[in-house]
């Protein structure tokens, strides 16, 4: 059997049987991170000396040496902007093209990935560092905080990830934990963790939704809560949509205003960072008041900027509407209506934005639930799960795959093997076959996404199944098995069932996807479903026609003599006609031409069959024949 595994290299989870050490829950967020611990079903966030639970997800590599994380790192932004990095989560498992620019300038100096992966590296503090290394610094700081608060060594954790994190991003998160000296007991989806915290704390039962708008990602999940079972029914989201987008909109506006006022700024990294920091402050202020203003200083030249709530609402209307559209789509996926939802749990700092709250309330028809601090709720849920996994508990989390997983077939069509919202762990197999006579190898292309065509989905891995015995087209039986484990990580295996030749191939996920690709892949299947379906039908018609032409060609080479010259002429004309329609875009025309050809081929096929039977029977006595029939 030829195997393809998509997992982090060298992963060998060690069992810790009988070990009663504590395990923490970590929300590794885009903007802020939180570490929490649960004891006897009571979760609590761990605070620093000043009583703060939130650790800004900011890492600094000061010129004086060492590493700073959190508030201290944030403070360094003013003096050493080039040595500070924020929102690194957005780059987990991503390529250079995923970075956002502000006024055409990136907030970081980047180095495209090299070698096996394309994961981007940032040049920070004079050294190229990967998002995995930088995230590991945040995790280390959280571990240290937990060890100080609990006075115990911490080696195990449940870490949350956005439901919509794909394979590459999940793998990168596990890698970061390992670098930080933490064994990941489980990667839990953030909305699921939030529901866990909410359900266990409030004893909620029934259908609940989690609307999670963080700094960089959006998730919407529907769960059924029932007697300790948390069953995710459907989930959806966008890994490139969040509060950072709001900041960027304000920052761009301010830099634009400066330009209009004739300030000839050289917009560099430092200017962009300063603008983003001020933008964030202004955004937060607008949650409590209708008007705000700020002072931006670039290269020693100050400028003053005012912003009203109404203007701000207009600026962010499009991304907020997108979250609502995605939510509605998830509801439809689960076959539910907004009216059936008992409550919506809000997660993520960006849900403090009034327009966001109003839009959610409007969609569901009732005010959202905010009893638990939206910044802490995910970490609290992770802590509960960490306790359940180590100490045992009656709670059961049943999660799903957020995106469909498929295989490329002829014509660039995606055949879905694991549909989205399938409960995990899962193992599903599908059989594929060869397309040409005598084909001995088959290219396997594993993709993730909802669109019908490969070009619109995310490519996860490619490999080739070789050693298929030469057979007639369509005779080989190639069984492809997709297995998704409880962490949401994928393994793919392929096997030719008539030979069972063994091959083992390990492939790492390919990082590096442009932002446009990602946005496309993630949820605009909704916008494209109809066009996709048409394109798929057209492609299928072409593929089918090509298959028939190939088969006919093979038959003509072998038995062309069975046709008269006129018949052959007609057949050739019909083939040419079909070829002609295949070059155009009209599916019905292709099908009509294929049918016309089929009619002409029929007598030829019958003659071939007669001849085949005659040949098979030639030289056999009646007795032979009877005994042969008898064998059947």
């Amino acid at each position: 059997m030829s195997l393809l595994e998509i997992h982090e290299p060298g992963e060998t989870p060690l069992p810790h049987a009988g070990e009663a050490s504590l395990a923490v829950g970590i929300d590794l967020g885009t903007t802020n991170s939180v570490v929490a611990i649960a004891r006897e079903g009571k979760p609590a966030a761990l605070h620093d000396e000043s009583g703060k639970a939130l650790v800004p997800s900011v890492v600094a590599y000061p010129a004086s040496g060492g590493v700073l994380v959190g508030e201290e790192a944030h403070l360094l932004t003013v003096h050493e902007p080039r040595n500070v990095v924020a929102s690194i989560k957005r780059l987990m498992g991503r390529g250079a093209a995923d970075l956002h620019t502000v006024a055409g300038v990136l907030p970081y100096e980047i180095e495209p990935g090299t070698g096996q992966t394309d994961m981007v590296k940032l040049r920070i503090g004079g050294k190229a560092r990967s998002p995995v290394e930088i995230s590991a610094e945040i995790l280390k700081a959280l571990r240290v905080r937990a060890e100080a608060a609990l006075e115990k060594k911490i080696e195990r954790a449940v870490i949350t990830v956005p439901a919509y994190f794909d394979d590459a991003a999940r793998t990168a998160t596990r890698d970061a934990a390992r670098v930080a000296g933490l064994e990941v007991l489980r990667l839990v989806n953030e909305p699921t963790a939030a529901a866990l915290a909410y359900g266990l704390d409030k004893g909620a039962e029934g259908l609940y939704a989690v609307y999670d708008l963080g700094g960089g990602t959006f998730d919407f999940s529907l769960l059924r809560l029932e007697k300790g079972v948390f069953q995710v029914l459907a989930t959806g989201g966008d890994t490139a949509l969040g509060g950072d987008d709001f900041d960027r909109a304000i920052a761009e506006r301010m830099l634009g205003e400066r330009k209009k006022d004739g300030l000839a700024d050289a917009v560099d990294e430092a200017a962009v960072k300063a603008a983003l920091a001020l933008a964030r402050q202004m955004k937060e202020q607008l949650s409590d008041r209708d008007q705000t203003s700020g002072r931006l200083e670039v290269a020693g030249v100050p400028s003053f900027h005012a912003l009203g709530r109404t203007e701000f609402d207009d600026m962010i209307a499009a991304p907020v509407k997108r979250t609502v559209d995605i939510s509605k789509h998830v509801l439809a996926d689960a076959g539910m209506t907004a009216g059936e939802i008992q409550g919506v749990v809000l997660v993520g700092g960006s849900t403090r934005v009034p327009l966001v709250r109003a839009s959610v309330a409007d969609m569901i028809g009732k005010p959202p639930l905010t009893d638990i601090d939206p910044d802490e709720v995910v970490a609290l849920g992770a802590a509960l799960q960490a306790e359940a996994l180590t100490g045992g508990s009656d709670t059961l989390l049943l999660d799903v795959t957020p995106l469909s997983l498929g295989l490329e077939t002829m014509g660039g069509i995606v055949e879905k093997v694991v549909p989205r919202n399938t409960p995990i762990p899962v193992q599903l197999a599908q059989e594929f076959t060869t397309y040409q006579d005598g084909q001995t190898a088959m290219a396997m292309h594993v993709v993730q996404g909802e669109r019908e065509m490969v070009a619109d989905c995310r490519s996860l891995a490619r490999f080739e199944l070789q050693g298929i015995p030469p057979m007639t087209a369509g005779a080989a039986r190639i069984r492809v098995t997709y297995a998704v484990d409880a962490d949401g990580l994928l393994t793919v295996a392929a096997e030719e069932r008539t030979t069972g030749t063994q091959q083992r191939i390990e492939v790492k996920p390919s990082y590096g996807l442009s932002h446009d690709d990602m946005a496309d892949m993630l949820y605009d299947s909704l916008d494209h479903a109809e066009d996709d379906m048409k394109l798929r039908l057209l492609t299928e018609a072409r593929v089918e026609a090509r298959r028939n032409l190939l088969a006919l060609d093979a038959a003509l080479t072998k038995d062309g003599a069975l046709l008269s010259k006129d018949e052959r002429g007609e057949l050739d004309a019909a083939c040419a006609k079909l070829e002609q329609t295949m070059a155009a875009e009209d599916r019905d025309a292709i099908n009509a031409a294929a049918e016309a050809l089929e009619t002409l081929v029929k007598p030829f096929a019958e003659r071939r069959m007669d001849r085949g039977i005659r040949e098979a029977l030639a030289g056999l006595s009646m007795q032979d024949l009877e005994s042969r029939v008898g064998e059947k």
């Binding site: 489980r186 996994l389 059961l396 899962v426």
Partner: protein, 168 residues
């Protein structure tokens, strides 16, 4: 082991949804990989395989149409693969006419009406299935299931068309 046996349920078309959930949850409590953290690798692998099989069984049996198609398979009735040519000429005509109507629908209201019609049709066909299964009329079961699968797909296409119209 078939999906019904795995979930400790009787092989019936009209499965009680609450009983299905109860059985599934109880078995997942026993086999979910979360219950095997820290256990030896072979036990973990077994649990993972069992949990995956339970999920597949649950997903298949949860949906009434999926359940009916699966029961037909148990009886040796095979439907052509998805996306393959429909081998029933009457159904082919019906499908082509319906798709044309959907294409020509120019308002959300029209699309909704078509989708509603398809859904009701599907419900109707589902309610007629037990009789066919009782009579063990394989040809009729196959014909009915093919049509129901098309109706299900049509409802999905209507949803896509609806989204497109709403956007325009």
């Amino acid at each position: 082991m078939d999906h019904f046996a795995r979930l400790k349920l009787p092989v019936v078309l009209q499965l009680d949804a609450a009983a299905l959930d109860r059985s599934y949850f109880a078995l997942q409590r026993q086999w979910h990989p979360d219950r095997f953290i820290g256990k030896p690798p072979e036990e973990r692998a077994k649990a993972s395989a069992e949990a995956a099989a339970l999920n597949e069984a649950y997903q298949t049996l949860k949906d009434p149409l999926g359940r009916a198609i699966y029961m037909a398979e148990l009886k040796g009735i095979a439907l052509p693969g998805d996306g393959k040519t429909i081998d029933d000429p009457d159904l082919l005509t019906e499908v082509m006419d319906a798709r044309e109507e959907l294409q020509e629908a120019s308002s959300v209201g029209e699309v909704d009406a078509l989708a509603k019609f398809a859904r009701e049709d599907l419900e109707q066909a589902l309610s007629g299935l037990p009789r066919l299964f009782e009579a063990n009329d394989k040809a009729a079961i196959r014909k009915a299931l093919l049509r129901m699968r098309y109706l299900d797909k049509f409802a999905e296409e209507a949803r896509a068309r609806r989204a497109n119209l709403q956007r325009a």
